[in-house]
């Protein structure tokens, strides 16, 4: 599989600071996005801490695969899923500890959505209301569940999706990094197929842009960085009420199939002929 990716974060049109944060670690094929919360500059600190902690653990564990796994895991998870989930638990601890040590940081926290691709396996770990989507065969599927009050109410059948979009409680999260000493992390893994497109985004995108529009933009623009740019632009055109962050990851076949194979074989053949001709 060949992976192409691009991402962008934007302050939006209303906020005076950007509390979103993301990192793409190309050699690891690791993608991490966080949306911070908390007064003053603390949201920024929290989201940066979250992303750094996850990236750092994934890099460390890549060099030291025997590192300890933290939190509940499923026995069928790949090592990468376990590591990614562990990384999120560690990120939570570091934010929580920092807030304990610095009283002015009380109440700071962050959402976190991370994706790690190893071969054809995609590992996802998630806390909060940022999202991961998969576009496959033209349909967009939300891979993560929002840990927000309204999303929970929709799942329980108390609110309809339309009511949830109108609700004044949209910003109330049930889970976030830094809120408690230990948290529950959602993690799961999927198999990727050629032409799949993965999107990580903060709620600044999903509150402004509909899912069909996201799907349409991804289909129209095959360059991941440009697709991310277009989605951010669209959210800003709609008012850009919050910070907007988008990471787009495209999965391609590593070779072009039998034609490439044929050409490669032909080239091998011709070089072999060349050397034998010298004898």
């Amino acid at each position: 599989m060949r992976i192409a990716s691009g991402g962008l974060t934007d302050i939006g049109r209303v906020r005076s600071n950007n509390e979103d944060c993301f990192q793409i670690v190309v050699p690891l094929q690791l993608f991490v996005l966080a949306d911070g919360m908390g007064g003053e500059a603390h949201g920024e600190i929290a989201s940066a801490m979250a992303v750094d902690a996850v990236v750092k653990h994934c890099i460390d564990v890549d060099a030291n695969p025997a590192a300890r796994v933290i939190g509940p895991t499923q026995p069928n998870w790949s090592p990468w899923t376990k590591r990614l989930s562990t990384a999120v638990h560690l990120a939570n601890r570091s934010i929580f500890r920092s807030a304990e040590e610095h009283p002015e940081q009380h109440g700071m926290g962050a959402t976190l959505t991370a994706a790690w691709i190893n071969g054809a396996k995609l590992s996802i770990a998630h806390v909060g209301d940022s999202r991961a989507y998969l576009l496959r065969g033209g349909s967009l599927l939300q891979l993560t569940r929002d840990h927000s009050l309204v999303a929970e109410q929709v799942r329980r059948g108390i609110l309809t999706t339309a009511e949830a979009e109108e609700s004044s409680m949209q910003s109330v999260l049930l889970r976030a990094l830094g809120a408690q000493a230990e948290i529950e992390v959602d993690a799961e893994e999927h198999t990727l197929f050629p032409r799949d497109v993965l999107v990580l985004c903060s709620d600044g995108l999903t509150r402004m842009v509909t899912e069909p529009e996201i799907a349409g933009t991804l289909q129209a623009e095959t360059d991941p960085a440009k697709a991310a740019e277009k989605l951010v632009e669209l959210a800003n055109e709609r008012g850009g009420a919050d910070n907007i962050t988008v990471v787009v990851v495209r999965v391609e076949k590593s070779s072009k199939g039998w034609f490439t194979w044929l050409r490669r074989e032909a080239r091998k053949h011709s070089t072999r002929n060349g050397t034998s001709g010298g004898n």
Binding site: G39, L141, R155, A181, H190
Partner: protein, 241 residues
């Protein structure tokens, strides 16, 4: 100190005290109270103290957690209650002092309007419970365990029947597909079935499948008994009891 006693056929298997830390119950060996039985999920339920009361919470287990023969998602436990998990019984003893909550003194700063905030556990329970008071009872009937299954009626595939265990299922010739199509000129990814919150949706891949004879250009929710046709294969989608 309050405790849980795991019983199997009226014989005591294990006892654990319930302190300030949550007790997890399940089939995986790293649980505080491991229960070795196939009917028990790996992480089946947890028991903890909240506002001085012992609470049990089902962790989306497959076969459910029962308190005094009622299936629960979450319930307060009282002295002498019987919890059933699989074929095991857990006796509840709440005598003795309840542990003191660890982070009781922590108060979040007052949230500003339109600012994202996190509910702490107690507030969140109250809000959800209020909101869910009516929704909850309706959910009980719907949580009867049904296994989504695809039965192959005709066409060449690697199995005759598939239980949809993953959230994302691919039908195609690809080696990574769950439902592998056999034969020449079959598409790598013919179609897909994805689990969403409200059910299973069939969507196109390289080919457009038909459901009950109608071709579907976009994702369609599958109902019990639906007939699917894709790339020369006919499948029956059913919920097995």
């Amino acid at each position: 100190m309050p405790k849980l006693s795991l019983m199997f056929e009226e014989k005591l298997v294990k006892e654990v005290p319930v302190g300030s830390r949550p007790i997890t119950i399940g089939r995986a060996p790293d649980n505080d109270l491991p229960v070795d039985n196939l009917a028990v999920s790996n992480y089946h339920a947890k028991v903890y103290y909240e506002a001085g009361r012992m609470v049990i919470e089902d962790l989306d287990s497959l076969n459910g957690t029962f308190v005094n023969d009622l299936r629960i998602e979450r319930a307060t436990l009282h002295d002498g209650d019987n919890v059933h998990i699989g074929k095991h019984k857990i006796k509840v003893d709440t005598s003795g002092d309840a542990p003191v909550a660890v982070n009781a003194g922590r108060k979040p700063a007052a949230p500003r309007i339109n600012e994202t905030m996190v509910l702490d556990t107690k507030e969140r329970r109250q809000m959800l419970q209020q909101a869910a008071a009516m929704g909850e009872s309706m959910q009980f009937a719907a949580t009867r365990m049904k296994v989504p299954t695809l039965v192959v009626l005709s066409g060449r595939t690697d199995q005759k029947e598939y239980v949809l265990t993953n959230r994302l299922t691919v039908i195609g010739k690809s080696g990574m597909a769950t439902i592998k199509l056999k034969g020449w000129f079959k598409p790598a990814m013919a179609a897909q079935i994805n689990q969403r919150d409200d059910g299973f949706y069939l969507g196109p891949g390289d080919k457009v499948p038909t459901v009950n004879g109608t071709s579907i250009p976009g994702p369609v929710r599958l109902n019990d008994g639906d007939l699917i046709e894709i790339s020369g294969v006919r499948l029956n989608f059913i919920f097995r009891e």
